[in-house]
Symmetry: C2
């Protein structure tokens, strides 16, 4: 091999297409798009403003449209589907595997869904029903039903002849599954075993009966953990009666892992991980508004703390100048701890056995950093404002707030986790409110006491 031009860089494709479109050369754009793999066309659509997506979609190859839809993120996919009618959707999803069907058709309007079902042939309708039999984000909705099964009593030689007759294996097949006469899973035979054992042996003699299987109802995050833990390439999915339903392959799991990690990152910034980078302005603004509303409440809570000390602030405006420093440091320190705990919870590092130790550790770090930064900030304030009392007050507030930040940074996400609230979503806002309130209260409170006596 390997003709490197076949592996053209995605960015290169995008540039070529965009250049062609800008100069109005639609025929050229179409011919480039036709040469691109489906995943790159999906990326091209995702990287384009909504208005351009319609134009681009009309330039795509009809035979590739199903594959492109599978690869698109949810927002972009729904946008494209809103341009299609039922006949169109039926044509595009024909013969699609169940997990992809479930993804593409989830969330389309009811009337369209009914029309699509009516126009589908019996086999595809059955696939759709299987796909929607399991809730979103479970193994059942992620599995593909395209598996090869064997009986235990046949010889490997027979299996090999059968495979040669078949001529092709489903994508990402690394093992064949062994079932009994009523489809109960009893073992698996990896392809590597088929290739290395004596062909006169029977399937029963070489099959692996100790590997794991996945219940269809298992949440997909658990599925991803099992894959990571056991370095699986694929795994069989069964119902509670141990009947084989399908299989999950690593490429789907990779998507789950990436989405989950993005969820934490985006969630901490108050964004939905499904948020399309190029979503239209109005829906984007609306979605972000919830978070801003919550923050406004938090900001007013902080302001009401300063309000308690309005008389003090009136007496000494320098306090107003300095009062934002302590809450800001507390917010940063608390956020560090929060990120650590959110990741620890996601990876499974944090359980009942070690939370107390973790709280102790983060409190100790808060104590230590509190002392260090208390001294620094005191020195800075004394130099700047020439007021030693002020330096002592801000040092005390800093120490208290960093200690509180460390403790709250562990306890807030743990409590949320216990009550099934996602700490990646709600943790940051709650924590910031705590560090703002404590920071302002300790700084202005001490200042008030000192000024009064």
């Amino acid at each position: 091999m390997l003709d490197k031009t076949d592996l053209k860089d995605t960015q290169q494709y995008l540039q070529e297409v965009n250049k062609a479109l800008e100069s109005g050369m639609f025929v050229l754009a179409r011919s480039i798009i036709e040469k691109m793999p489906a995943c790159d066309v999906a990326l091209l659509l995702e990287s384009s403003p909504p208005a351009n997506r319609k134009v681009l979609w009309n330039l795509t190859d009809h035979d590739q449209q199903g594959e492109i839809l599978e690869e698109l993120n949810e927002d972009a996919k729904d946008g494209i589907i809103s341009l299609m009618d039922a006949a169109n959707l039926v044509a595009v999803t024909e013969g699609m595997d169940t997990d992809d069907l479930a993804y593409v058709l989830r969330g389309i309007p009811d009337s369209l869904y009914q029309a699509v079902l009516e126009q589908m042939d019996a086999q595809d309708r059955h696939r759709v029903e299987t796909a929607f039999a399991y809730p979103e984000d479970t193994a059942g909705s992620t599995m593909s039903t395209d598996t090869i099964t064997l009986r235990a009593d046949v010889s490997i030689d027979v299996v090999l002849r059968y495979l040669r007759l078949k001529g092709e294996l489903p994508e990402a097949t690394d093992a064949l599954y062994v079932v009994d006469s009523t489809d109960h899973l009893i073992g698996e035979v990896p392809l590597s075993t088929l290739l290395t054992v004596d062909p006169s042996l029977s399937v029963a003699q070489v099959m692996n009966t100790k590997t794991g299987s996945i219940f269809a109802e298992m949440p997909e995050l658990e599925v991803a953990k099992l894959f990571e833990r056991h370095d699986w390439i694929s795994a069989p999915v069964v119902d509670h009666d141990n009947q084989l339903l399908g299989r999950i392959t690593i490429d789907d799991v990779v998507d789950i892992i990436r989405e989950n990690a993005e969820h934490s990152m985006m969630g901490m910034a108050g964004m939905d991980d499904d948020e399309d980078t190029f979503a239209p302005i109005l829906p984007s603004a609306k979605r972000r508004t919830v978070w801003l509303a919550l923050n406004l409440v938090a900001a007013f809570i902080a302001a009401s703390v300063s309000n308690m000390f309005e008389a003090t602030l009136e007496q000494m405006a320098t306090l107003a100048v300095l009062m934002t420093i302590v809450p800001s440091m507390g917010g940063i320190a608390g956020n560090q701890t929060l990120a650590l705990v959110i990741r620890g919870l996601a990876v499974g590092h944090i359980g009942n056995s070690n939370t107390r130790w973790l709280i102790g550790k983060e409190a100790a770090i808060g104590l230590l950093n509190g002392m260090v930064w208390a001294i620094f900030v005191a020195v800075a304030v004394v130099i700047w404002k020439g007021d030693i009392t002020l330096g002592i007050i801000i040092a005390g507030a800093m120490f208290i707030n960093l200690l509180v930040a460390g403790i709250a940074g562990v306890t807030i996400p743990l409590i949320m986790h216990k009550y099934k609230i996602d700490p990646a979503l709600a943790g940051g806002m709650a924590l910031m409110t705590v560090t703002d309130v404590v920071g302002l209260f300790s700084f202005l409170g001490m200042a008030t006491l000192v000024l009064r006596y």
Copy 2:
């Protein structure tokens, strides 16, 4: 299958071991640990405070220690290795594959490294040298050298007989590589092909010459993108002369993807993604200090803005009470945009062709949200403080700051990306400084103007 007890849940193992340890039943703990898969022992070590790790390590099975080290995160691994001497390390790493060797030995002290090399046999020493021939985080340091190669002119029948003689394939093998007499890669034969084609054909007739290969110097993030894009299970690694060096498998790529996503999440909170949840207090405190130091500078910059308006604040303490609201809203809005852009850059959605559109979109959202929240905050302030002028001032400042936040939220990470600064690390702090300064300046500035005239 499937004896479910063999697939005991990780958390269950951890609880059992911790219970045994707490009651001092070390023999029981050892017997549980011996039954655990290496990945779970690694998780157990990672989930334990550093002091307990030493105890636990001494309870692990010697034959499993190499595998456990491979699975540990960097901090925990280095901690365990610091308990070992050269003879110990040589024993544990014996026969380890190059990518794992590179991981385990990277970062150990030079003197220990020399001692280990001296005590190793020639084959292992060669592996170490191969492992360190490529810089960290490149395909070369991630690849395994355990591959099966074929010649193009032999028949599939011969290959099948060879594999049966061999009896076992390297882990996660989904394809065999075809090389010429000087080890140049010329194609690959997937296992599924071996199983489905006519055995009398030659390798040359069935091999796939159109699949991709990876240069050893390619950064591992690029490698991960290629795997995701093409749904690969494994891929060959070559040098610039197209000589086969090894292969990369999907399980390593899964780690890369997870680490990279964690990097963004942790980075935005000012944490290193290698940070061990249970790292000792002193090093943790030290590592977080850099971020706190930067934030102190940022906080003093913000304070110096308020300082410019000290006279105004003295005149009207209510301004001090309200002045934190606008910067806080700007910080949140900007951070939403920042997270979106950081993800877009990571996924490859953002390129030259669409940055202008994106800036326009985020500015429009800032404008829209700015108007909405300007009205809200104005109403709230008028009701609270009964001062219409104050309401108008804060509304103006809010509008300006949310608009600036939207624009800065796109432009700051894009500029950083251009100059190869990681926006996930530095973006948040820079952005917050901008929104703090603009928020305070516009609010206090307008108030000063109004009060003066």
